[in-house]
Amino acid sequence: MTALQPPAVPPGVARSAIQWWLRQQEAGGEMPEPQRRAWQAWRTADPLHEQAWQKIAAVNQRLAGLAAPQQAAIARAALAPRGPARRRAAQTLAVLAFGAGVAWQVEQRAPWRSWVADVRTARGERRRLVLEDGTQLVLNGASALDIDYGEPVRRLRLLEGEVLITTAPDRRQPARPFIVQTAAGQAQALGTRFAMRALAGGGTWVGVFQGAVRLTPRDAAAAALVLPAGRRATLQAQGVSAPAAVHEDSTAWTDGMLVARGMPLADMLAALQPYSAARLVCAPEVAQVRVSGTYPLDDVPRVLAALGALPGLRVRTLARWWGGQEVVAEAASR
């Protein structure tokens, strides 16, 4: 019985894992490169280290649920140490929960909470936020964002999914630049309305609708480029793709719609994915099939049925052994 259990992690190793966890949190999830390498080295040095780290990840995940802005205020009030402090914490809720929308959940970020916070949306959920400076965010489904309003910059980190940003001028003097950071680099807003979407390959799609945005690739600062209104480009760690035209239609998701004008099927399925529990798969032979129309994001099954009715296309739902579902769009002749 005992032999089958993994060897117990000594407290010293657990302590080291916790210290790495704290370092990572302190760095806002982005440790400087040498530190990140040291952390990786620690993890690979001993299977026990990795085992301890995996457990930390599990602990962290449980806590992350409570740190979602929807719940953090309630969690803070309920978990505050016993006594008068708990009552005080409950009162601060009134500051945080300011003006809840009807169809949308609007959150006002109070200045006292200007430090890092994760904002997450679930699959099929969209959320509008107003930041302390009046900047408006709309998060698409299955998206995650860190907000770090400090000195000397206002910084967002797009970790996953898509966000539409309408920046407001900073009330502080001197005004702090507004920067969105992604795995591929950063985008500095120059008085704008723009959208960013984290792509599966690590790049970031950027579309500008007003003003301009300066894109700086992570590993090629010299390749920085100013993207004007009406243009889109893909930011990669090593460079920026050639800008192309972007239409206002690509923000229709903020109204729960998907507007396609000759959109490649693969792109369309990618846009639907944040609204579908099943994994959407596009067979390579139909990836470039062009689709047009206006579709409701909140009714993915209906959209898929409509796609399946297109000539030459077939849409099948498969149950996978791990319990999930997969919807495959493929050529009808197969």
């Binding site: 019985m1 005992t2 993994p6 407290p11 657990a14 302590r15 894992a17 916790i18 210290q19 966890w21 704290l22 949190q25 302190e26 806002g28 301890a52 457990k55 930390i56 599990a58 602990v59 449980r62 806590l63 649920g65 409570l66 740190a67 929807q70 719940q71 953090a72 205020a73 309630i74 969690a75 803070r76 009030a77 309920a78 978990l79 505050a80 140490p81 016993r82 006594g83 402090a85 708990r86 409950a90 009162q91 809720l93 009134a94 945080l96 929960a97 003006g99 809840a100 959940q105 959150e107 909470r113 430090w115 890092v116 916070a117 994760d118």
Partner: protein
């Protein structure tokens, strides 16, 4: 490895038949509620059954009260948490959008964390919540609590160790 279960079970059976009425009376006096007392008697024996070692109690009633005290403390903790939770919900407009199911799930999640943190001193607990729920930097926590950065680090490691060893692998 020796399996303690049969021994443990027979011991607890004895504890139950001989002292269960007495324990229920003891809890009823503390709580002033017959039904609640019966529930907590149940919890007390469940807790004894969860042990891996035989009880070997020379003073069975002393053992029972020790375990029942813990059950009672947990009950009061849960009661306080529920009260604070309901108060928090009442003040949070976004709670109106939560389904009863979501509310119950959130309470269970909070209960899990609350139980973890229950044994920690108040400042350690506060530092941990500031880091986890508010994403505060260690320097900000130090300032807010009026302690040194080193102390904050120690607090956070202490809370982290508590979570680490309390969460099942």
């Amino acid at each position: 490895m020796r399996t303690a279960d049969p021994v443990l079970h027979s011991e607890i059976a004895t504890l139950y038949t001989c002292h269960h009425g007495w324990l229920q009376g003891w809890l009823r006096k503390k709580l002033g509620d017959v039904h609640l007392a019966a529930d907590l008697v149940q919890d007390t024996y469940m807790r004894l059954l969860a042990r891996e070692e035989p009880v070997q109690a020379r003073e069975p009633r002393a053992l029972l009260t020790t375990v029942a005290q813990r059950v009672l403390a947990n009950h009061y903790r849960r009661q306080q948490l529920e009260r604070a939770y309901l108060e928090a919900l009442a003040q949070a407009p976004q709670a109106a959008a939560m389904s009863p199911e979501e509310r119950a799930l959130l309470l269970e999640a909070l209960d899990e964390i609350d139980r973890l943190l229950d044994v920690l001193p108040a400042p350690v607990r506060r530092a941990f919540l500031m880091a986890q729920l508010d994403g505060m930097k260690q320097a900000d926590i130090a300032r807010a609590l009026g302690v040194s950065l080193t102390t904050v680090k120690r607090y956070l490691v202490q809370a982290g160790m508590r979570c680490y060893f309390a969460v099942a692998p």
